[in-house]
């Protein structure tokens, strides 16, 4: 019973691993693609990603599609001399259309402003597009931080138990019961909350709360598996067991909760911006609704007369939030075999 005569590896190990990774990705995708809600969510996310990515092309597109040569000529000649592009002097996010008298704003959707302008003459579509990438960044960054903290703390509390467990679970209780809005009001008055800072604050606030408890319960189920004992018998350190065995088995669930947390973060930003609590963020979907509100356009039964002011950002927030949620639901069926139909 001697070993096989000089084993020759067929391929380099990294190549095999890459293939395995690719194969795993493909089979996960096959499972994910079976759920219609997951695909719907993914479709919406891709739509918004393209929508946001088109923002740099907005002036180029609008000059060719929406503005007639006469209008361009007129706009160029109004206050300035000859310039190559109207958008050199007209920033659609913060400026106003030189051809529309200020008194007429807000104007309803028109050819040059497909979603209308707000009371300051700012183009709604431009604001919507300009905000998309930052909404994505905020949501994904906050969710990444949340899940990073949750996975790490969850694995550690489950593995060590005892004092560590009690300590982080009481911390989680505090964070779950935390009055988020009041805290952010105070924090917003102390420091200027930019997008990145807000992402970190939201990530940390969510990370130590619910997600730690959820991932800890999963880690507890992993911790008692015999392969953990096998690793210990082989001499594996605590570090080895946590990072090689426990965390890899938590990652699918972490990824799932990341999707739900993106929803939470975008929604929180919108709510806080609406209350005007985030002066550090110059343009976002929440701020668009806030400016419509503070201009008095969605009060006193006038909301539907000025629908283009609040409906586009409202729909965008709802769609993007639900899209990440739907992807989460679709992933749920990949991660939890019990939910699979077969």
């Amino acid at each position: 019973m001697q070993a096989a005569p000089t084993f020759k590896p067929a391929e380099a190990i990294w190549r095999v691993r890459l293939q395995l990774f690719w194969r795993g990705l493909k089979s996960s995708w096959a499972m994910f693609a079976e759920s219609k809600i997951g695909l719907t969510g993914l479709g919406i996310i891709i739509f918004f990603a393209i929508f946001g990515a088109l923002w740099p092309a907005y002036p180029w597109l609008m000059e060719r599609l929406a503005w007639t040569p006469e209008e361009l000529e007129a706009a160029r000649n109004v206050p300035y001399g000859a310039i190559s592009s109207i958008y050199q002097v007209y920033d659609p996010v913060t400026g106003y259309d030189p051809l529309i008298p200020g008194i007429e704003n807000p104007t309803p959707p028109s050819r040059r402003h497909p979603l209308g302008t707000n009371q300051f003459g700012r183009d709604i579509l431009a604001q919507l597009m300009a905000s998309t990438s930052s909404e994505f960044m905020l949501g994904v960054l906050a969710a990444l931080i949340t899940v990073f903290i949750g996975t790490f703390i969850g694995a550690i509390t489950a593995y060590y138990g005892g004092f560590v467990d009690t300590f982080f679970m009481r911390v989680a209780d505090v964070f779950i019961l935390f009055p988020l809005v009041s805290f952010l009001i105070v924090l917003g008055s102390m420091i200027e909350l930019t997008l990145i800072k807000l992402a970190f604050v939201l990530g940390i606030l969510y990370g130590f709360g619910q997600i730690t408890v959820i991932l800890k319960s999963q880690a507890l189920a992993v911790k008692v598996k015999p392969y953990i004992e096998a690793a210990k018998v082989a001499g594996g350190s605590h570090f080895h067991v946590i990072f090689r065995h426990i965390i890899p088995n938590l990652l699918p669930l972490s990824f799932l909760y990341m999707m739900f947390n993106v929803t939470g973060a975008i929604f929180s930003e919108a709510a806080l911006s609406f209350f005007g609590l985030l002066p550090g963020i110059k343009v976002s979907w929440g701020i668009m609704i806030d400016s419509a509100h503070s201009g008095g356009y969605i009060l006193g039964g006038r909301s539907f007369q000025n629908w283009w002011l609040w409906m586009p950002p409202g729909i965008a927030i709802t769609l993007l939030c639900s899209a990440f949620y739907l992807v989460g639901r679709g992933l749920d069926e990949v991660v939890n075999p019990r939910l699979r139909k077969r």
Partner: protein, 344 residues
């Protein structure tokens, strides 16, 4: 039927007065007053190349004993001496006994090269997110042995050794792609990769189909033949114990009640508990009438057991003496056959 091919004279593992008490928790701040005597004053020794069986019903402490021997848990008291080579270049003259019961840190990690464990459930003992190569080579990477290519070669060697051929077709598959028997072979390969001198096998075949059990058991016997590995073979199946083990010890509530050569114990059981255990094995012949041995009640938990024979409540031959005296010590009844009973 155990294979008696090698001269087994050299003691590899010596267990002395091993004791594991688990506190019965009464609250966070209260000190535990009661203890479960999971393993209570157990002593035995295992020779090089010997398969030592540990049998008994559920909850008698066999698995705890196994975990103590690989130091997954630290014993409350007692000693486990293992003969280890101090310097890999010297031969057996350079070996000496080391008490592994109190090892810590680096010394403990070094010791773990010598002792491995095979678990009961092949479906749970392999990490589902790791490939067979990663699983089998894990001990190598923990101990930092070899480069990736040397490891791959060694894993392939081990896989063909345990009968997973050709190894290339198994290296980069996941456990869920393998059958139960194949998984247990992978677990055996993982246990073998550090060339241990001693393996604790915790009911390695009880979760497998009957049809593939013999294959796995024969593999373990072959490995013993080839590498002179000693096993502590934990099982509740007397037939398996008879097939595999050179000597067996019968455990009851944390105590060894009978110990001896397998055939001797099974043909000529002395302790009333062993007799009851053996009489419970069905005989595949409907015409055989067998007088069952009467024992009363069911197995209880050994929480603060009173100082008398552990088997007193259920014993058909118990007398005053068994109630008055402490649990009887293991006594030699001839031919290396030990039993812990005052009445035989």
């Amino acid at each position: 039927m155990a294979l008696q091919t090698q001269t087994k004279t050299e003691t590899l593992v010596r267990v002395e007065n091993l004791r594991m008490l688990y506190p019965v928790s009464t609250g966070i701040f209260a000190r535990a007053r009661s203890f479960i005597h999971a393993v209570d004053d157990v002593s035995f020794d295992i020779k090089r190349g010997e398969i030592f069986g540990l049998i008994g019903e559920s909850g008698c402490g066999k698995t705890t004993t196994g975990k103590l021997l690989v130091r997954l848990i630290t014993p409350t008291s007692g000693h486990i001496y293992l003969r280890v080579t101090q310097d890999p270049s010297t031969d057996s003259q350079g070996e000496q006994f080391v008490d592994i019961a109190t090892l810590e840190g680096r010394a403990l990690k070094e010791f773990r090269r010598n002792v491995q464990m095979i678990f009961q459930d092949p479906y749970e003992s392999l990490n589902p997110r790791m490939t067979i190569f990663d699983i089998v080579s894990e001990p190598l990477s923990i101990h930092g042995i070899g480069s990736v290519y040397e490891r791959e070669e060694r894993v392939a060697e081990l896989l063909s050794l345990v009968g997973l051929t050709p190894p290339e077709s198994f290296l980069f598959r996941y456990p869920h792609e393998l059958s139960g028997g194949q998984r247990q072979r992978v677990a055996i390969a993982r246990a073998m990769i550090l060339n241990p001198s001693f393996i604790v096998a915790d009911e390695p075949t009880s979760m497998l189909d009957v049809s593939i059990r013999t294959g796995v058991m024969n593999l373990m016997l072959d490995l013993r033949e080839e590498f002179g590995i000693s096993y502590l073979y934990i099982t509740h199946d007397l037939a398996v114990a008879r097939y595999m083990c050179d000597r067996i010890a019968v455990m009851y509530l944390g105590k060894i009640v009978e110990l001896g050569p397998t055939e001797e114990v099974i043909q000529n059981p002395l302790h009333p508990y062993t007799r009851a255990l053996i009489s419970a094995v069905p005989i595949p012949d409907p015409t055989v009438e067998r007088q069952p041995i009467e024992i009363k009640g069911g197995v209880s938990k050994p929480i603060d057991p009173p100082p008398r024979c552990r088997f007193y409540e259920r014993c058909p031959i118990a007398t005053e003496r068994c109630a008055q005296s402490d649990h009887p010590p293991l006594e030699d009844k001839g031919h290396g056959h030990f039993a812990a009973c005052y009445e035989i």
